[in-house]
Amino acid sequence: MDNYIKDRKVDSNEWMPFTGLEDGDSLPTGDIYVPLEEWLNARETLLTRNGRLGVALRNTDDPAIIKDDLERLDLVVLEFPKMADGRAFTQARLLRERYGFKGEIRATGDVLYDQLFYMQRCGMNGFELRDDQNASNSLKAFDEMTVTYQPASDEELPLWRRNK
């Protein structure tokens, strides 16, 4: 089991992380995602492949760095090195709302039941849950709360104006 949720369904993870790109001949096939530095160093080579491509950001990276590349990417991977580190919430909203990214925004690291609600509101739709989490039990976390006050990636207006 991949312990992976995509668009609110337990799914299998087709993507492979890929690092240590040394020469173009050894590029793997299939869907891969690479660290931002690899992408910046070898963008053209990576684009010669047939498989889908993703980029993994550190949570200190400004997503603006890849804003012009987003049309060529199918996945952006964000990290939660620990649960309390919430920088990727901002990154996700910027990717979705400011730069209009349509592909998958995936949460990795300390991805736990109680954050899923907030993560989806910020535009994340792929979740690599931490090993000890149970993906099918976690699906209900998305609907524990149904009332949202403020605009985010899932709502353009605050609650007080939606009611009008």
Binding site: D62, M83, A84, D85, G86, R87, F89, T90, R93, R98, L112, Y113, D114, Q115, F117, Y118, M119, R121, C122, E144, M145, T146, V147, T148, Y149, Q150, P151, A152, E155, E156, L157, P158, L159, W160, R161, N163, K164
Partner: protein
């Protein structure tokens, strides 16, 4: 007062049921203590020295009598018969059992109350002026803005895991009764210099704790329509750039300090440019809607004098003292604002028993349109009392031990719970405040001293706000002994200042004498009785005080 919509109610019900689930998962071991900690903290539940402590939010310090009765019920049923009003206008219960907490939250939800975001690294309960809507020096009522901030910040998905806790205060009057300069963000309602337009002066990066700092004005005038977009921009910059490597350097004040005020302002303004036209831009219809909840009550048209009141003032010195100290003028003729002093010799500062709470609720219904406010100096306010009712109200408050005539005077002490309750404390603070109260509990002396503040913290986290007291006391543990540092010259008002340590610390049995000496230096050196302690201290400087204390 804001009235919950169906959706507000729905959200509270969902929240309680979510918390029940979290407690159940914790008890089954599916949630580690560390991970549960993050969840329970976002519901105001701390683990303290002897028990859990539950902090209940009182949005911008406003309570209905019905809510006060529920607070009394909780104190009686789930705690030891009392609650503690804090410097953030909230109430804390010191003895709840973990398994009872979901039931407590259910009881709170029935009266539109909760413990959401009263702790944890998220946006906390917004605090404000306890005299909002009734003060004579008000530019505009801050409560509608506080309510918009409450809604915007509740379960904000982007800002629920910030580097550190985040506190916002809003003041709408000329005098600052909300201590805006010592909050992560302070908003002061102001009129534009060039038009009649209302907006905000925006302070960022104030705070107490280990590194006390006053907020910097990063915008002198922000149109009110831009309030939430601007807050969102500040929080976004902080969420991305605030330090997460060191818990003691994680507050926004450190980011502002290390980035530099100018550069920080540029970052915020650049972010704001990109979101200022978004969904959080406030329209006239939004203000009209939210202001509708805070319309003036239908005040009676009354003269600003009353014969019975005048007579009692002349015939009863105790009544006259109480009126002189604990009554404030009201914007409406024939009405007065009444401070209920929670500072007596018989209870720790801010503590109220369940019976007192019920009685206060009854008094609010009888004399003050059913509303009660909490203050950041840990007192309560009845905001709409008719002048003619003051004699009767005074009689009832006296019987409840809530009429000590000491508001903003020397025995109106702010104190954190200290080592008697708190897991972080390094020294006791309640016994010190009680010893000071016992020493100076004489009306003539208190009256002669005039306006002066004493605040006590039991550790460097400074929950007792000692840095911004005229006379601040900080308890620390020095080689196994509790000793007390004295800080002079602070202020939490519109002339905000961080006090300075005057010299080496005093032992517990010396600190009251030291405070007494400080007060004597003031009394001996003031120009006249009109010169307050703070004004005199600022004129005299620390030398005289130092000399008296240390020779």
């Amino acid at each position: 007062m804001y009235q919950y919509s169906e959706q507000d109610h729905q959200l509270l019900l969902e929240r309680v049921s979510q918390f029940r689930g979290q407690v159940a998962r914790r008890l089954k071991g599916e949630l580690s203590e560390e991970e549960f900690k993050h969840q329970r903290l976002r519901n105001g539940l701390y683990l303290q020295l002897h028990a859990y402590m539950l902090r209940v939010a009182i949005p911008y310090g406003l309570l209905s009598s019905e809510q006060m009765r529920t607070l009394a019920h909780i104190a009686r049923k789930y705690d030891k018969g009392y609650g503690h009003f804090s410097t953030r206008q909230n109430i804390q219960y010191n003895w709840p059992k973990l398994e009872d907490v979901p039931d407590i939250l259910d009881d709170l939800a029935k009266v539109e109350m909760h413990a959401i975001q009263t702790s944890g690294n998220c946006i906390r309960n917004t605090t404000s002026d306890p005299l909002a809507g009734v003060a004579r020096d008000e530019i505009e009522d801050p409560r509608p803005y506080c309510e918009l901030i409450r809604q915007w910040s509740t379960f904000h998905p982007e800002f629920n895991f910030l580097p550190r806790k985040f506190k916002i205060a809003v003041s709408g009057a000329t005098q600052d009764r909300a201590a805006v300069a010592v909050h992560d963000i302070g908003l002061r309602l102001v009129k534009s210099k060039t038009s009649e337009e209302i907006g905000f002066e925006v302070y960022v990066g104030g705070g107490l704790g280990r590194t006390p700092m006053l907020g910097k004005v990063i915008r002198a005038f922000l149109p009110k329509q831009d309030m939430l977009t601007y807050l969102e921009a500040i929080l976004r910059v902080y969420n991305m750039l605030g330090r997460r490597d060191n818990i003691y350097k994680a507050r926004i004040k450190i980011l502002v300090h290390e980035t530099g005020e100018e550069k920080f302002r540029e970052l915020v303004e650049a972010e704001w440019e990109k979101i200022k036209a978004g969904g959080l831009y406030l329209k006239e219809e939004d203000f009209n809607w939210v202001k509708g909840f805070f319309n003036d009550p239908e005040y009676d048209i009354l003269p600003d004098q009353d014969a019975d009141f005048e007579n009692l003032m002349l015939s009863n010195a105790d009544f006259a003292r109480w009126v002189d100290k604990n009554i404030e003028l009201h914007k409406q003729s024939g009405y007065r604002i009444v401070y209920l002093s929670l500072k007596t010799a018989h209870q720790p500062p801010g503590d109220v028993t369940a019976d007192q709470m019920d009685a206060i609720a009854d008094l609010a219904d009888k004399y003050s349109l059913g509303h009660i406010r909490t203050t950041h100096r840990q007192n309560l306010v009845l905001s709409d009392v008719q002048l003619k009712d003051l004699p009767a109200l005074w009689g009832e408050l006296k019987a409840l031990d809530l009429a000590t005539p000491n508001y903003n005077h020397v025995t109106d002490i702010i104190s954190c719970p200290g080592l008697d309750y708190c897991a972080l404390a390094t020294a006791r603070s309640i016994p010190i405040s009680q010893a000071i109260t016992a020493r100076f509990d004489d009306y003539d002396f208190i009256n002669d001293l005039g306006d002066v503040s004493i605040n006590i913290s039991g550790c460097i986290n400074a929950c007792g706000h000692h840095h911004v007291a005229n006379i601040g006391i900080l308890g620390v543990n020095k080689k196994g002994t509790e000793v007390y540092q004295l800080t002079l010259g602070g202020s939490a008002r519109e002339d905000a200042a961080i006090g300075k340590i005057i010299g080496p610390a005093f032992e517990a049995d010396e600190i009251v004498d030291a405070v007494s000496e400080v007060l004597s230096v003031y009394l001996e050196n003031r120009e006249d009785p009109e010169e307050t302690f703070l004004t005199a201290y600022r004129r005299l400087g620390p030398a005289l005080f130092k000399e008296r204390l240390y020779g």
